[in-house]
Each structure stands twice: as structure tokens, then as C-alpha cells.
Amino acid sequence: MKLLSDLARRQSRRAFLGKAGVAAGRIALASLLFPEILRSAPAPKRERAHPALEGIPHFTPKARNLIYLFMNGAPSQIDLWDYKPKLADLYDSDLPDSIRQGQRLTTMTSGQKRFPIAPSIYQFAPHGQCGTLVSELLPHTAQVVDDLAVIKTVHTEAINHDPAATFILTGNMVPGKPSIGAWLSYGLGSESENLPAFVVMTPRWSAKRDAQALYQRLWGSGFLPSRHQGVALRPKGDPVLFLNNPPGVNAASRRCMLDGLARLNQARFEVSGDPEIQTRIAQYEMAFRMQTSIPDLTDISKEPPSVLDLYGPEVTQPGTFAASALMARRLVERGVRVVQILHREWDHHGDLPRDLPLQCRDVDHACKGLILDLKQRGLLDETLVVWGGEFGRTVYCQGELSRSNYGRDHHPRCYTMWMAGGGIKGGMVYGETDDFSYNIVRDPVHIRDLNATILHCLGIDHRRLSYSFQGLDQRLTGTEPASPIQGILA
């Protein structure tokens, strides 16, 4: 009896009830009734670091890796991508109700008496062979516009940062769901044995404001086994804390310690069946391998100057977006499945003409560099690159409007993102907004559709990648209808 109650106490509820480690759960349940079964339960064999699920990819993918450039805070589409020259005639006039159609406002502008239109003060020009119109603030990105599919009609329901970022990066405004990278790690696994499947970087920003906070859940694993969470490399100093052996510990003794630890953990697993123990063992193994793979990754001394020049002058400064972009290419070359760079402080409620150019200078050159560098190595065909934020910005001014200064509030109904690389048609613009960049006129793309497209390019049918949790077959795209954007698929 004592053995049974001991077992019941040590039993992790998740293992007992949940799908994760369902085999372990079944064995454990059977072992409550027939304890001798436990002693003959097969020890789980050594697995690949990041295995794929059986049956995935569902169909032949175009891309094998994802680089997601997330512009947290919401870049202003009117000042960067969505050219509305007629707004110049409407400077300081009120946004008509026929356009606004009752769109809810944030508390930041709901108190405003007027919603005066703030035309962009920036010039747009056509670029590339496709002639896509790009703002003067993105001169470098404009040079690679023949490789980009610019989607002007992305939309969401969320109007504030936390729910919106959670929505686009995890598929639901309510926290607790796995992020895109976690889903891809779970479904596709990763080819590198020495690096995590999902790596995250959070470089610094230049706008003269405090930024919205980021949350670990934006790259978290939600209800998936925690081995699928993103590993955030620190922007400055050691990319991974406490990775290196302290003085007095060498690789051999470290290995010896880890082997012993693994045997202890394995013994615990055989008693309690908690699948998180397997995660723990795998993470220790991964950490050991990262002791060699991370220094190799971050050592850019062998990169030719011509390559470094592609990314701009900041590429050699750790902690910048440019340095992160170069890292992203190196990670993808080494078989890492998903790389996500979250660049902060695009939230220009005021002083947009002061801050937006600074932000653009952070990312513009490096975005071009990344696309060109991937392309010359033949990697752009096999890598999907996504750029964008969590919603757009309003055409009307927040705060005081003048000819040289304005701010914009949040706007969920239409905004611009771009995609490039494996499976995506370059040199095109998808969708059209109205003259106020307020409503979508043609070809709306919900952020669910965007996520379905990402999965599609990597060979996954978004309806079929699911995980049973809380009585529901949970999916990245949720329960509402979603489909990949046909118009941009190559």
C-alpha cells in the first residue's frame, strides 16, 4: 500500500492525465494496479535532439527554416509602406465617420475631441523592377523589394500591445498557447543537434523612448513540452549565461558529471514517469553541446568584409539588430529551425518624425543585408523571412498635430507586413486599403491567415498540426477559419 501511495504522490498530474507522455501515464496507471510492470518498463532510448512528429511535413515544403523579424510596438504603415498621397490635401481635417465606422479607440485617444488626419511627411518612390512604392525611410529594404511580397491588408482584432503581440505570435489573445516557433519545433523538429530548435534575440533600439515590455510567453511553449520553448540569446556579453565551465572544471569532468546526472534523472523517470524529466535530461545534453556550438556561432572573425558590409556598420556591435540579423543567417546555416528577432519601440504615439527614422535606421540596412546574404548563399529559396508588427497605426494624429510633428495611435484594421523567401512570390504587393489606410478594400489577411501561410510554406497543413489540451485539439490557427494566402504563394 505504501508503494502505491508513494507512487500516487510522486505522480505528476500532467503525466497521469495528459497526452504528454501518455505512454508513461499508461504505464504508471497500470503500475498502480500492477506494480511489477514498472520494473520491466522499457527505458526510453536516446532520442535525436529535436525529432519531428510522425507524418510531418504533410506535403513537400518550399522553406526549411523561418526567420521572423518582429517589430514590436507596431510600425506605422502610412509612413513606411502604404502610400496615400491624397491625404496631403486632408491635413488637419477630421477623420470622417464613414471611414471610421465605429472602430473602437484606445484609452489614449478616446479622450481626444478631434481626430485630425496626419499625412505622412515622408516621400515615397517606386523601386525595383516591380515598382513597389516604398518610403524614403527604408532606402535599403527598397533595394530588395523584388524579393518581397508586401502584404498591405493584414488585420487583427486586438488593439493593445500585450494581447496583440500574444495573438500574432501565439495564435490567441489569451496567454498560455505555444508560440509559432514552439509549434514548428514540435512539428518539424530541427536538424541541428548542437543548437536549440528555436532561438530568439532581442536587440536594442534607438528611439528615444522606453519600449513596451516583451514577455517570455511570446516565444514560450505554452502547453507543449517545455523543450520547445525559444532559447533567448542575450544581446550583450555571454549569449547564454553560465554556459562556460568555471575554473577548475574541464570538458571531461563536465561530461562525467552530466552522465551521472542523467543516470539519476533516468532512475527518477522510471519511478514517476514525469515527461519533464526527459526534457530536463535533453536540456542538459543540449547545454553541453552548446558549450562548443555557441562560441563557434558567435565568432564572426572569419566573415569576409564584403558580407559584413551588406548588413551595415552596426553588424560588429553585439546587441544591435544588424548583429542579430547576421546571427540569424548563421543560425539557419547551422540547421536551426526557427530564429526570431524581436526589435522594440516602434510604438510612436508621439514624436513620430523623431523616432521612426531612428528605428528604421536600426533595421533597414540589416534587412537588406539578410535578404542578400541568404540569397547569395542559395539559402533564400529555403528560408522564409517575415517582417512586421502586431497591428498598424492610425491615420489620425494622436496629440498635437503640426506640419512637422505628429503621433499615431494603434490601428488594428489594416497594416503592412512583408514576407520573402521559400514559397513566396517576390516583387509583389498583396491587398489594397482605402485612401485613409484605415479600412481594407480588397484581399484581407487576418493574422491567422498569416500564420497558416507560414506553416504552409514549411510544409504543414495548419488544420492538422494539433495538440490535445483541455479537451480541445489545439492549433496555432485556433478554431476560427484560416487559410494560407494563395496570392503570394509561389
Binding site: 511535413p57 513537400t60 547569395q376
Partner: protein, 413 residues
Amino acid sequence: MIFPAYLQSAEPSGSPSPAELDQSAFQQIARPVFEKYCVSCHGSARARGQLRLNTVQEFQKGGKSGPLYDSDNPSESLLLQRILAPEGDDQRMPPAGKPQLAPDEIALLQWWIQAGADPEKTVGQLNPPASIQSILAARERQSMGELANLTAPSKAPLTPKPRQEVLLIANQLADTLGIAISPLAESEPWLQVNASLAGSAFGDAELAQLETLSSNLRWLNLAGTGITEEGVKRVSKMRNLTRLHLERTALTDAALLHLQPLSELEYLNLYGTQVTDAGLASLRPLRNLRRIYLWQTQVTVDGAKALQEAMEDKEQITRWEQEIARLRDQINRQLVLVDTGVPLTPKKAIAAPVNALCPVSGKPVDASKTTQHEGQLIAFCCDQCKAAFEKDPKSFQAKLAATDRPTESRNKE
């Protein structure tokens, strides 16, 4: 291009995929119709006839006229009565003036009701007949956009080994060689191999061990490995390859000759190798090659251009360009129609009339008295002649031909 696996195993016209069959029938069939045509009046905002159709429960509850589904007599269900009511009948749903259901949608709803309208069941569990299956398959194809994949699936010069057999070998080899081998798509026998992870430790001897998988390999990544020309000779036997990475290896022009049997190759990466313009000529027989990467090689821009021109099918490109121009014209016409509600009329409708003398009387025409006939603008001297012509145009054809302005250009569209 390779069709999605789940379509390859289905018949061309008509079975939906396993994914489609697995979906709840209510979600796939009933709910999209309700959301598109019904919820504006029978939804959360308004409930005409006390009926809502925005959730399953509301559907099952029904409205003022009773439940929509009659379990005793499904064919007589109220929902069917409404959507099948004749046009003009004021009981018909959706009501006149609102968008009407397409015949496919009616067929699907009808089948679902008659099959029991059970919201718990999936499409597959309700055993749809062939006619319903082909409607579902067609809708699925459209929504998944396989119509965009206009090119045929890649051919396979070698017959691949069965998937299960090859996966077992692949897993063992991956472990021993320290590389990644994984299937390319569900239920297909194709494999992708990434040996670049093993670096220079992977050489010709290791590549030799992959030979047993030759006929199943579609993607092979040997970037940065230690293979030599000997190894490439083995690669030439892998004739199903569509993607080949040879960048950052010690290969030279001689190796490129061995790639000639790879007729299905679409992607070849040679960056950081010793290849030169001379070697590129070996690649000309590879008619499916679409992308070649030659950064950090001794290939010159002229050499690359020469290869491109040698491989271009200029006639086909011209044909495609003409087809594109024709399709663009069609699209523009449609856009004009959509934007303005009026078809793009041929220019000559506004042009001057084709004749100088009245075909009825022979007198000089009054340009304000005109009529359209067979796409031409015909002028008359007076309204009586115009009326006479319109009554019987054939009898004046001869006279009309005689009065045609010789210099008038007929804008035939």
C-alpha cells in the same frame, strides 16, 4: 513542382483529403453557409423569426416556426423547405434581393440534413456519396490553392523504394553518420538528407553508405563536406534529385560533368567551389534547372549569362509573354467592369459612323441620327430612314457597303 501528398493519393476529380474528412461536418458544411448568407438576419445582432444560426445550439433550438431539422422526416426539415422553396415564394430563404446559395451549397446542406444533421459527427463519419465528395474535394482544392500549381509533378526516373523500408534504413544511417535524414512529405517515399551538419568528417566513404537510399533522395545537402569527385560520381546515380547543395566543397569543373544524369534537378548550389565558366557548359543538358548559385566562384557574369541564354527556351518565353499580355488584358476588362459596372466597350462605339451617305435614301448623313448595327455605327439622313433600316437591316446591306467611307478604320476588337 510536387503536388501535395494527400492529393496525389486521391482520385483527380474527387475525394477530399483525410484532413477534410476529419473536420466536423457542421463546421465544414453548415456553418460557412450560415455565416455567409444567414447570420446578418439570424445571428447575434438580429434574430428574425426568433431564429439564430451563429452557433450549433441556436441552430438546434430553431425559431418561431419550429426546429430547422426534423429527425422523423429529414427531407421535410424546415431548413430544406426554406432553401428549396421556389423563387418568388416569400418563404424562400435567403429572401429575394439577398445573395442566394449556390447549387453546390444547397446540395451539401441537403445531404447533411438528410444524413442526420448531427453536429458531433465528422464529414467522414457521415459517409458522403461520390457526388458530395467531389464537391468537397473541389472546394478543398480551391481553398488550398493547388490550382496555382499549374506545372505537373516532378518525374521520377528511378522507382523509389517503399517508404517504411527506407525510413528504417534512413534512421540507422542518420545515427551512425551523424547527419539528418527525414521524409519530405507524409505518405511519400521521398527523403531529404542534410550532411552539412557533419562537416568535413563526411566524405566519399560516408556518401557511399547512402547509396542504398539513392532512388528515394529528392534533396541532398553536402555543403561544407569533404566529398571529392569520386563522391559526385555516386551522386550522379541519384537521378530523382531535385535539390543539390555542393557549396563550400573542394569540387572543380570535372565534377560538374557527373551531374548530367540528374535530369530532375531544379536547384544547384555551387558557391565557394572551384568551378569556372568552362565547367558551366556541362550543366546545359539539365533542362529542369531553375536556380544555380555561383557566389565566390571563378564564374564570371558573362559565363553565367552564356549559360542562361543557352538554356533559355526563347520560343516558349515569347509564347508565355503573349499569353500573359492576353490575360492582363482580360483582367483589366474585368476590373473595369467591377469598378464601374459597365463593360469596357470597344472604342469604335464612340467613333464616327462608318458611312457618309444614308443607306436608305442615299443622301448625305446627319451625324446625330445613328444606330448600332453589328458592332458598327451607321448614320442616316433622317429618323424615318433610321427607323426603316432598323426594321429590316438586311435589305440595306448592299447600299451600306457601297457608302462605307474608304478611309474609315474599322476598330475591330
